[in-house]
C-alpha cells in the first residue's frame, strides 16, 4: 500500500514536471526541468527494484544529457518563439494515440504478477543458474556482461557510430566560423 502511495506521489511530480516543460519558453529552464524529470524517474526505478537502471538514469539522463543540452543552447538560442500554428491537432493526435495504447494494455497481466509471461521465460533460469555459471552476486551484471554480452557489444557499436556522427557533423564548425569572420572583415 505504502509503495503504491509513493508511486503515485512520484508520478504526480513527474507529470507536473512534464507539463512545466510544455509551458516553459526559456530553454535553460526546460533543460533543467528535463534533468529534474530524469532524477524523479530514477527514484521511480528504485521503487520498481531496478537499482542499476536508476543509477544509470541518474548519471546519464540527468548528468550527461543535461550537459549536452546546455552546450547546445549555448551555441544556438536561449528562448523559444511562440508557436504560430494552433495546438488542437497535436492534442487530438496525442489523445487518440493514448487511447489506443490504453486499449492495448487491457489484456496485459496485472502489475507485479509473478506469473506474468514476461517473468516466466528465461528470467527464472537466470536467477537460478547464474550463481553456478557466472558467480557474480548481481544478476543484472551477469546477464549484461555474459548471457547477453552480444547486446552490450552492439550497444558499444551504436555509441561508437553516434560519436563518429557527432564528430563529422560538428567538425569544421570553428574553421567555418573563422572563414566567415574573415569574409566579413574584408
Amino acid at each position: 500500500m505504502i509503495e503504491t502511495l509513493i508511486n503515485i506521489a512520484l508520478f504526480a511530480m513527474l507529470v507536473f514536471t512534464a507539463l512545466a516543460i510544455v509551458r516553459m519558453d526559456r530553454l535553460f529552464a526546460v533543460v533543467m526541468l528535463s534533468g529534474v524529470f530524469s532524477l524523479l524517474s530514477a527514484m521511480l526505478f528504485v521503487t520498481l527494484d531496478a537499482v542499476d537502471v536508476a543509477f544509470t538514469e541518474a548519471a546519464v539522463g540527468a548528468g550527461i544529457s543535461t550537459v549536452l543540452m546546455l552546450g547546445t543552447i549555448a551555441l544556438t538560442a536561449r528562448r523559444e518563439k511562440a508557436p504560430s500554428h494552433s495546438s488542437a491537432v497535436p492534442l487530438v493526435v496525442c489523445v487518440v494515440t493514448g487511447a489506443v495504447l490504453v486499449y492495448g494494455t487491457l489484456d496485459m497481466p496485472n502489475f507485479g504478477d509473478a506469473k506474468a509471461p514476461a517473468n516466466l521465460h528465461v528470467a527464472p533460469d537466470y536467477l537460478h543458474d547464474s550463481i553456478e555459471e557466472i558467480d557474480v552476486p548481481n544478476v543484472v551484471t551477469s546477464i549484461l556482461a555474459s548471457y547477453r554480452g552480444y547486446d552490450t557489444l552492439g550497444e558499444t557499436a551504436v555509441v561508437f557510430t553516434a560519436g563518429i556522427g557527432v564528430l563529422l557533423i560538428l567538425s569544421g564548425l570553428r574553421r567555418r566560423r573563422r572563414y566567415l569572420d574573415e569574409d566579413e572583415d574584408t
Binding site: V15, A18, L19, I21, V22, L27, V30, F37, S38, L44, L48, D49, V53, E57, V60, G61, I64, M69, L75, T76, A77, E80, K81, P83, S84, P90, L91, V93, C94, V95, T97, G98, L101, T105, L106, M108, N110, F111, G112, D113, A114, A116, A118, Y126, L127, I131, P137, N138, V139, V140, D151, E155, V159, A162, G163, G165, V166, I169, L173, R176
Partner: protein, 143 residues
C-alpha cells in the same frame, strides 16, 4: 478494482508518454522537441521496468556474507532482471541518439540561423521559389 489497481501503473506511464509526444509534435523549437523525445523515451523505460516488477520482490542482487561468499536463500523473491538489462542498454543508446540530434540542431542553426521549425520551413520555401524562378528565366519564361 483489482484490475484497475493492477493496470493503473501502465496508464500513468502512457499519460507521461503522450505528454512527451505532445511536446515533440506541438512545439516548434528543435531543442524542446529533443527534450520531449527524452520524456517519451524515459516513460517507455518505466513501462518496461514495471512489467518486470514482482510484488514483494526485491532488487536482483544476492546477499553475501562477510567473506564475500554468496548465500542463496530460497525464501527471497527477486524482480525480473531481464528488463533491467534491456533498459540499461536502451538508456545508453538513447543518450547516443540524443547527442546526434543535438549535433544536428547545432548544424541547422549554423546553416539557417534559427532553430524554430517554422523559420526553417519558410527559408526552404523561399529558396525553392527562387530556384524555380531562375530555372524559368533560363528557359525563356516557357517553363
Amino acid at each position: 478494482m483489482e484490475f484497475f489497481l493492477g493496470h493503473m501503473n501502465y496508464w500513468l506511464f502512457i499519460v507521461l508518454m503522450m505528454t512527451g509526444l505532445y511536446i515533440v509534435v506541438a512545439r516548434g523549437n528543435l531543442v524542446k522537441k529533443i527534450v520531449g523525445l527524452n520524456v517519451f523515451q524515459v516513460s517507455v523505460f518505466m513501462l518496461y521496468i514495471s512489467i518486470g516488477k514482482v510484488t514483494g520482490g526485491t532488487a536482483p542482487i544476492f546477499p553475501t556474507d562477510l567473506q564475500g561468499h554468496i548465500e542463496i536463500d530460497p525464501d527471497i523473491v527477486y524482480s525480473n532482471p531481464l528488463p533491467h538489462v534491456l533498459i540499461l542498454t536502451a538508456i545508453v543508446v538513447g543518450i547516443a541518439t540524443t547527442s546526434l540530434g543535438l549535433a544536428l540542431v547545432v548544424r541547422i542553426r549554423e546553416e539557417y540561423g534559427s532553430i524554430e521549425e517554422q523559420d526553417i520551413l519558410d527559408i526552404d520555401a523561399a529558396a525553392a521559389r527562387e530556384e524555380n524562378r531562375q530555372h524559368g528565366d533560363a528557359m525563356g519564361g516557357r517553363a
